[in-house]
Point group: C2
Chain length 494, copies 2
Amino acid sequence: MKTIILAGGSGTRLWPLSRDNFPKQFLKLKNMDKSIFQMSFERCLKLTGLDEIYIITNINYKFWVLGQIEELGYKFNEGHILVEPSGKNTLPAIYYAIVEIHKSGADIVAVFPSDHLIEDDDELTRVIKQGEQLAGDYIITFGVHPGTPHTGYGYIRPKEPLTIGYAVEEFKEKPDLQTAQVYVEKGYLWNSGMFMFKTDVFIEEVRQHCPEVYNAFQLSDINEVYNKTISISIDYGIMEKSGRAAVIPVDIKWSDLGSFDAFYEEFPGDENGNIAFHEVTLINSDNNLLYTDQDKAVAVIGAEDLIVVDEKDALLICKKGYSEKVKDVVNKLKSNNDPRADFHLTTYRPWGSYTILEEGFFYKIKRISVLPGKKLSLQLHHHRSEHWVVVKGTAKVTVNSSVNFVCSGESTFVKSGYKHRLENPGKVLLEVIEVQLGEYLEEDDIIRFHDDFGRAETDDARSDLSSSYVKKLLLPEIKTKQLELTSSFDASCT
Amino acid sequence: MKTIILAGGSGTRLWPLSRDNFPKQFLKLKNMDKSIFQMSFERCLKLTGLDEIYIITNINYKFWVLGQIEELGYKFNEGHILVEPSGKNTLPAIYYAIVEIHKSGADIVAVFPSDHLIEDDDELTRVIKQGEQLAGDYIITFGVHPGTPHTGYGYIRPKEPLTIGYAVEEFKEKPDLQTAQVYVEKGYLWNSGMFMFKTDVFIEEVRQHCPEVYNAFQLSDINEVYNKTISISIDYGIMEKSGRAAVIPVDIKWSDLGSFDAFYEEFPGDENGNIAFHEVTLINSDNNLLYTDQDKAVAVIGAEDLIVVDEKDALLICKKGYSEKVKDVVNKLKSNNDPRADFHLTTYRPWGSYTILEEGFFYKIKRISVLPGKKLSLQLHHHRSEHWVVVKGTAKVTVNSSVNFVCSGESTFVKSGYKHRLENPGKVLLEVIEVQLGEYLEEDDIIRFHDDFGRAETDDARSDLSSSYVKKLLLPEIKTKQLELTSSFDASCT
């Protein structure tokens, strides 16, 4: 048996928590020490070994996937991370992995979204293992017993029972409340988006019901495949058409976190129905979700049914029941080319991460965290100098031909035009406060000479897509003074 | 004629905009280029010359007063800033100034709060000048024609007309709505807290009606005076008892900004009644006040009648009609010794200001702004080193016996235990990003050797009261590594 994790989904319905550059699967919720992706990954490990897991994602999320698996303590086979050239909905994504897996022969495969919250892993894996016996003949979907007549989920209507589960009579779109109540009474199940089948059965179903996808994947180049394939979901492309659809009920606590209203339902409130993750002063306030910064003093007075999400660069206040409109906010930001639609202040890189702390006129301050043993690319900036103060760990700093070690409490800097490299030679996290100065501080002022992660040869604009979070500085009409930098490179570790 | 500005009031009813260390009079509202104090000061200048203005405040606000007057372009006589040793309500504050003014002979005095918003300065000063003729015989208060039956203000019931204005029949406490409606119908006036009288008349009234205050001020030492005097308002101590109370109506747009509900009324809303000062995404939302950070993406969905005040270190969400409860929030923070009750992230000093940008484990980042020609004290820290990156202007940096100029784009640092001084020798603002490192980063790790502002000799804990905004670091149980710093002092301006 193999497992597939779908980790390429973008989505902004939980903006500003999730953004295009940081979808919800990679989010660590405030009360959890693992991300939703990490929990999905560990769930797969209950079904299969590390080498039996395949992950579908895109190039922007690949380092998230790798980093979050590494953080769990696993060394993952990069060949099992399949990178889609573009997003074409779930059917091509799943089929891409199925074709890969099938190359080594027919096998049973379980497919999981990476962005759903599931509390009962053991019950789910027990049911999946039991269901394996159906996988030779059926395309199995798992149907969650509805806890409530939820209007945010699709429903599955079961037909006659099989040895386990049921044949599927019909898939139902998200209903209104009244219809949902009828569905629940009649024993319909929530459509969870989890599947199981044998690769050869699935390939045959795709050939038969979705030849556009099947034919595209006959091409050898994956870019051409994705240029050619249509964009289509597995539900619409296969499940609703196949005569082999089966549903196995599972009795688990499950949520797709598809909106803040769904998000709200996942946490227990206090006696007034308020949900907070840090100390908040609440007066005459009921049934609010307060997802706020732990470093901030937050007070709520006389408010009811609010969802408040406060991040350093964005604030959302949304009345319960209105969270479908969050996507309109994101669309508006996107139409204004506002980077906060897509990016957080923290950007993750293969070597670690950086967070923008402050942007001023001609300067920018970042906190840079470099993982043990990792190094940034050997690079050069034409328009900015960089001052580095090491606040944790030890940095190995190369500037042109000189190499120095800069320890915690020491500082150094790099003139514009100098080749330089920042590296963490140690065993603990390296933290550096960087003050950039110059008349142009965008991330695209970078020339890479050597990079551990293959970025020197790639198109910089693309590999740096995630770092363009910066407001364009309005250059004044006066000729700016060329910044003169003096050398103060004299650091030596004792 | 003389004018007195009462600028010692603290108050947290507009928290988190105003805090104990930064009361609302010094606040520059988002759509105004002057603070409420500055507007009050310029109003006085329409009545009297610069040398006829007296300001009552306390030691913590003195540099605010001086700084904000300097910012208006005036050189103010520091002897006219009377510093109260403690707050004893309005009567002792006013009487302190009256006694000072009366030393040069009897004179007419107009008294103004510094924290009220008035739109019609010219009309007010016209009425005050007209009213001068009553000042020889009456203690005059100015009564604002009520625009609405406001329940947040006290009312004055006029008696028989005088040559101008009326004798006062009675002062009324804040009424309920029904009573307020009756008051408005009967022609009562809002009690504005502005007064005018002759010094000798006032002194005699205080002697007669409030001997506790009169007698205390017979002492020569102001600290003893304030130890002895009772705490009492001018309304309760004099106005309500005096047979000489008169009220002159003024027809002006006036607000005491006594709560966020009052604050709300001061700004025009859009067609849905929403008030915002920066771009905000509003969906299905009406009648909200959004006082938020211009650098933040803010979205409000489905919300009504909310007051939202978002600062970097604090967030308030308050339903209209509940803003009286803001003081309970502040009291709760105070009872937790939370510095955010009292301090902002920006602290103003006689030489300029600093803003805390980030606090981490063993480090802190500040942006320091030094006014042209000003310098910080010559000082020393036992527990921290300081790395300085100049991002604007030129710094003159003294470390032990060496003096260097550090220009924009250059950096330097100061080891712990080294005497140092930061100075702006230039004509433009100096901006420095400071990264502090050490095992103890509180403001009280400072030894001052020389200070332009007399702080070397004073109790440091007191003069530094406003800078104790720091969370105590939880020191780990391990012995911390002593930070070794290398010297990189090699900056020279070209």
